[in-house]
């Protein structure tokens, strides 16, 4: 049973697409294992959609909610100290949209000249029924869909390597300082007591491990930092995804406007 979940703020940033790739993969993989967080992200997506792609009658509805809607109705969010956000564009760009008729028509023609995606071709990617797995130390582990582009692509992922009980596959996520890896600890293995310099995200994908603070099961999503000191060990062996030094301060954009997050979450 999953006991450790990402924070609502993180899930919101995920729905907004505002985290680094490694963290997005961890959050997506957690959601594939955790219906509760998946439902939250779905909810946030809907709220964000209503904010960025409002229906004509939603401006007033939105006006009843918190920080976000203030930005919608005022066209800016200066009062929160954040530079004018996305919504400021809406009204001005809406009107200039029609004034570029010619280029819009050619864009429209170009799009509608594109053939519909065939069901077969699409199901190969979007509705893939092919399972995703990785093999390490003679075991095969299934992986969440977020890993699809990485697994078996030598340009994006190293092969498994390591000594003793611990093996690692590094994923090339190009996230600046943040480094993402799949980590395998064989049965009976232990990682020597250590602390963390920066933030570390650990998502347990298979098996179990425990440390001084408790026991963890598949799907558990942990955030640890310099204050934590621990000695993880596993009886049955486990596969984790880790992102170290992940910036947990999200990039500019909507999530910054959500302090307090308020309306968007509840």
């Amino acid at each position: 049973m999953i006991k450790h979940h990402p924070s609502d703020e993180m899930l919101l940033a995920h729905a907004a697409g505002e985290t680094v790739l490694g963290l997005a993969i961890a959050l997506s993989a957690h959601c594939e294992l955790c219906p509760a967080c998946a439902a939250k992200v779905e909810h946030f997506q809907h709220k964000l959609a209503m904010h960025h792609l409002p229906l004509p009658d939603q401006t007033s509805e939105a006006a009843r909610s918190g920080a976000i809607s203030e930005s919608v109705s005022k066209g800016s969010v200066d009062q929160s100290g954040v530079a004018s956000g996305d919504s400021a564009w809406n009204s001005s760009w809406d009107s200039s949209w029609e004034s570029q008729d010619n280029s819009l028509d050619s864009l429209f023609d170009a799009i509608t000249a594109t053939p519909a995606a065939s069901a077969v071709e699409t199901s190969a990617h979007d509705c893939s029924t092919v399972s995703l797995a990785t093999e390490v130390k003679g075991f095969s582990y299934s992986l969440p869909k977020a890993f699809r582009s990485f697994v078996a692509n030598p340009a994006l992922a190293s092969s498994w390597s390591g000594i003793g009980h611990v093996s690692r596959m590094r994923l090339d996520t190009r996230d600046g300082k943040a480094r993402s890896s799949l980590l395998h600890i064989a049965a009976g293995g232990e990682i020597p007591e250590h602390t963390h310099k920066g933030q570390e995200i650990t998502l347990l994908l298979h098996g179990h491990f425990s440390d001084e603070m408790g026991d963890y099961a598949p799907g558990d999503f942990m955030v640890t930092d310099a204050r934590h000191q621990h000695t993880p060990k596993t009886l049955d062996g486990c596969l984790c995804f880790t992102v170290v030094d992940a910036p947990l301060h999200f990039t500019k954009g909507l999530s910054k406007l959500l302090n307090p997050i308020g309306e968007l979450i509840y």
Binding site: A49, I111, T114, C127, K145
Partner: protein, 215 residues
């Protein structure tokens, strides 16, 4: 075999019997509801209807561009985002389940995924695309199993997609994720009895759908 359900709902949008005055909607301050968007999308899905698509294009285009401007900060890139997003709407409309999904939310997801990849492309000058792996655009995908018979899977997925969400969740949990009923109850935070009854109702519905198919 009809895999995608939208095709069965052609009657929702019948231009000859219930014309939608698209032009009129654009002239005055438009009265666009989620229902309107859905009708347009179904018309695109079933008939490749260009005037319905034009209405979607004019509704979403400027908003997608605004979003692109705020994220990508370049007009050229913002228009690329418009093109990428609306091309996906045009080419994949028939894959979207209009009975279950919300059109604006789907378009938002397409836009967000594209924008995520475009930002990385600008930063790294590489053509990688990860957005659709991280946030799958089609729900069926989330629950696709890894079993051998793809045809049967497609059919089962189609039927599973007709179950109410709560029942679907339980059926998938038990049969695809191979959780025990107790594990599922714990995960979803509901009593064991609820799991049992959702499972029973879900299986009954599936059975009736399969029987209908084999008739």
């Amino acid at each position: 075999m009809q895999i995608f359900r939208q095709n069965q709902h052609g009657s929702h949008y019948d231009r000859s019997s219930s014309p939608i005055n698209i032009k009129g909607m654009q002239d005055s301050k438009p009265d666009i509801s989620e229902e309107t968007l859905r009708h347009w999308l179904v018309a695109v899905a079933n008939h490749r209807d260009k005037s319905a698509f034009r209405a979607l294009f004019d509704h979403f285009g400027p908003k997608v561009r605004s979003f692109g401007m705020s994220r990508l900060a370049q007009q050229g890139l913002a228009m690329d985002l418009v093109q990428e997003t609306l091309t996906t709407v045009w080419t994949k409309a028939h894959l979207f389940d209009t009975d279950r999904g919300n059109v604006s939310t789907w378009v938002y997801a397409i836009m967000r995924n594209q924008c995520f990849d475009m930002l990385r492309r600008v930063q790294h000058n590489r053509e990688d695309a990860f957005g659709d792996d991280i946030w799958p655009l089609f729900d069926v995908d989330t629950h696709a199993g890894d079993h051998g018979d793809h045809k049967l899977d497609a059919l089962l997925n189609q039927y599973l997609s007709k179950l109410p969400k709560l029942q679907r969740e339980v059926v998938l949990g038990i049969y695809l994720q191979e959780l025990s009923q107790q594990e599922l109850a714990d995960r979803l935070g509901v009593p064991l009895g609820t799991i049992k009854s959702r499972l029973r109702l879900g299986l009954e519905k599936l059975k009736s759908l399969l029987e209908k198919h084999h008739d």
